[in-house]
Symmetry: C2
Subunit: 102 residues, 2 copies
DNA sequence: TTGACATGCAACCACTTGGTTGCATATTTA
DNA sequence: TAAATATGCAACCAAGTGGTTGCATGTCAA
């Protein structure tokens, strides 16, 4: 879980997930398209995403295909975020009351 | 948005949010209770959470009360995560098919 | 008013991180 | 086979991060 949050903390990596969402199964070189950074930097980011289980890979010959795995993100939504949403309205009401009592 | 993701990337800060969720409106010293780190370290974390708009504060005398603001988290759930959930099943099916065709 | 208490600010430090360059390995293709 | 292509690995570096210590400021209470 910590790996997922850390992986999502970087804008470049979130952009890579966006790219895979737009077109799944891209190779490393394809994912580098349009980016200014080096291939090695992108490769490092993909490793982090892979370790966080946000990206799954398949080797095909000399190529490596990258697939988005949205399960960990869904898990964040289901297990971690909802518990905050549950208190959302109450917290806002509480904050409003405290602010007004100053 | 980037600030929110970065703020959530640290386990200590997520624990602080959990603590505020359990009991809202705690002071800095109260939030330090049970932790091994120094007050200043916790204070820095709270500043980051505040900058990310995940925590709102109210000064009351010499104390500073901290309130959980779950809105940014809800925004992640609504705007960023759901778009991945939408493709969740399709991506898994796609991945399974590609793996089997190797 | 004086001391205790709650927090803020700043300098410093070890470690991590995002990035680079250079080279190695493996696979396709002419 | 030889060259081009796709990726992997390792060393290195600047900047960022999480943590500390020390001191300053502001507020409450005896």
């Amino acid at each position: 879980m910590d790996q997922v949050f850390r992986a999502l903390a970087d804008e470049s990596r979130r952009a890579l997930l966006d790219s895979l969402r737009a077109r799944n199964g891209q190779t490393l070189n394809e994912l580098c398209g349009g980016l200014t950074t080096t291939r090695q930097a992108v490769s490092k980011h993909l490793t982090i995403l892979e370790d966080a289980n946000l990206v799954a890979t398949v080797k095909r010959g000399r190529e490596k295909l990258h697939y988005l795995n949205p399960v960990p993100i869904a898990e964040i939504a289901n297990r971690w975020i909802r518990k905050f949403e549950r208190t959302r309205v109450n917290a806002l009401i509480d904050l409003k009351r405290k602010l007004e009592s100053q």
